[in-house]
Amino acid sequence: MNNPPVNNIILSVRNLTKSFYALKAVDNVSFDLSEGEILGIIGPNGSGKTTLFNCISGVIKAETGQIIFEGNDISGKSMDIIAKMGIRRTFQTIRLFRDMSVAENIYSGFYTKSNQNLFHALTHSGLYGTDEKLAWESVKKLAQFFLIDGYLTYKADDLAYGLQRKVEIARAMLSEPKLLILDEPAAGMNDSEKTELSEMIRVIAKNTTVLMIEHDLDMVMDLCKRIIVLNHGMILAEGLPEEIQNNKEVITAYMGPDDYRIYGPGA
């Protein structure tokens, strides 16, 4: 794969619509995401953010619309195929392998990169040794990067909330994805953990495109170069963080109509 030009489009979503019975959770959403970008998606609760992510990552199938990732249409594909293509995600409700150790949880990210076939697995022959060494070393390296290498032998379930989040992100990062989808990564974290996380995401974004849902607006404004605001399943506004902060519809959607005067551009 030659080195793509700086801002080519890696993911484009075209008139995506997904409804649960009568409710249109995602209503005709279209946007593009270029490589190396950190795109923030914000919006009040129930605006369709997670449903949008679920459609992109293959958890659920959208009725209409297309999702093009690196040129091929992934809108109907199953989740594991999409993951193999290089899209990894974290979940709003942390979904770790609870009874297993942190090391094994992170290792699961290596599954698609490992070239160990069933015969090697059963006989520990051939490239089993090198493959395992590479796997566990990268697990250790990544754990150190995320400052959780002290917890590798702990059971995932026993960790504090913030640490579990980091394990989930580390797990997603181990396979060096092209696109990392973060579903409220900072939820449940205190301020110091949040700044630490922002730094990590900034480092990750050097060679991975990041698509993020986050309620903590300060973090979003600081990290993301571009922001999309969703409301009732539709894109309300799109643009640079400053533009979004002063956008009339956004504030109305967030704060309610009469507050625009108080928090308007003058304030």
């Binding site: 997670t50 958890v59 659920i60 709003q92």
Partner: protein, 297 residues
């Protein structure tokens, strides 16, 4: 044409017997997400209890039937509650599989206890419990007993349907089966509600057991498993957790089994019945009436 209608009656009778037992499975599964493997053996136990109690009650003359039925249903309900307290309550928070193995073990205990108490050989079910005799229309013969079974089946289904949807306890049961922890938060007394479910399931199952004994005159200690599995399949066909589903699932299974052995081949009747289940589960994984469970992410 007579053959068809005779087969229809055969199927409906057999199906409604299965329906009685299926009900026990559906209610327990609805609330504890547990396949109560011991339920089939409870049904057998009811038939054997009737064998012991019936001669004692004969002294009461005409009331004999009522007293025996009541005594058996009550004792089976008590045993059902004990079963829940000993084998299932301690495992409320345990992993699903250990609950299943505990149910299998409980089933084995009841089955072998019956064998040790009443012996390994088939026993004869008392004839005087239910009215015998046949009615003949042209070439079709319908025994009074099968009429009773059909009517009782519909009656029990209706009362239960109303009970579940209209009474406070019924709502509590429905709440508990939709979401265990939320129902608990809302002040539903979980232990009592679960006890009532086992009470109803056991009682209706006991009735089913006695009707089976009366229909086929012989009961063996090991018949519980076979009836149990067919009844559970009926519960799934109807949509596990739905009360009308248990009844319609039972009738569907009874008719399939009857028409298959009547018109296809008796050798492959069971195979066709199970294939029906598998095919249905592939296309409608929640059965005819079941609620579809959307997996929350």
């Amino acid at each position: 044409m007579d053959i068809f209608s005779q087969q229809l009656i055969n199927g409906l009778t057999y199906g409604s017997l299965l329906g009685f037992i299926a009900l026990g499975y559906t209610m327990v599964y609805g609330i504890l997400n547990l396949i109560n493997f011991a339920h089939g053996d409870m049904v057998t136990l009811a038939a054997f209890l009737a064998i012991t109690i019936a001669p004692l009650a004969v002294a009461a003359g005409t009331l004999a039937m009522i007293i025996t039925l009541a005594a058996v249903v009550v004792s089976v309900c008590i045993i059902a509650i004990l079963l829940e307290k000993i084998a299932y309550k301690p495992l409320r928070a345990a992993p699903r599989l250990s609950l299943i193995v505990s149910a299998l073990g409980a089933g084995m205990v009841i089955k072998n206890a019956i064998m040790l108490i009443w012996g390994a050989n088939p026993r004869i079910f008392p004839r005087n419990l239910f009215p015998a005799g046949l009615a003949k229309f042209s070439d079709i013969s319908v025994s009074y007993l099968s009429v009773i079974i059909l009517l009782l089946n519909i009656l029990v289904m209706l009362t239960l349907y109303i009970f579940i949807n209209k009474t406070r306890v019924g709502i509590a049961i429905k709440a508990l089966s939709t979401d265990y922890s939320v129902a608990e938060l809302m002040g539903v007394n979980v232990n009592n509600t679960v006890m009532i479910v086992f009470l109803i399931g056991g009682g209706v199952g006991a009735l089913g057991g006695m009707l089976i004994g009366a229909s086929y005159t012989t009961v063996t200690f090991s018949m519980g498993f076979d009836y149990g599995i067919k009844a559970f399949i009926a519960a799934i066909l109807g949509g596990i957790g739905s009360i009308p589903g248990a009844m319609f699932g039972g009738l569907l299974l009874g008719l399939t089994y009857t028409f298959c052995s009547g018109y296809v081949s008796s050798a492959w009747a069971n195979t066709v019945t199970y294939l029906l289940l598998i095919i249905l589960l592939i296309f409608r994984p929640n059965g005819l009436f079941g609620r579809s469970l959307v997996q929350k992410v």
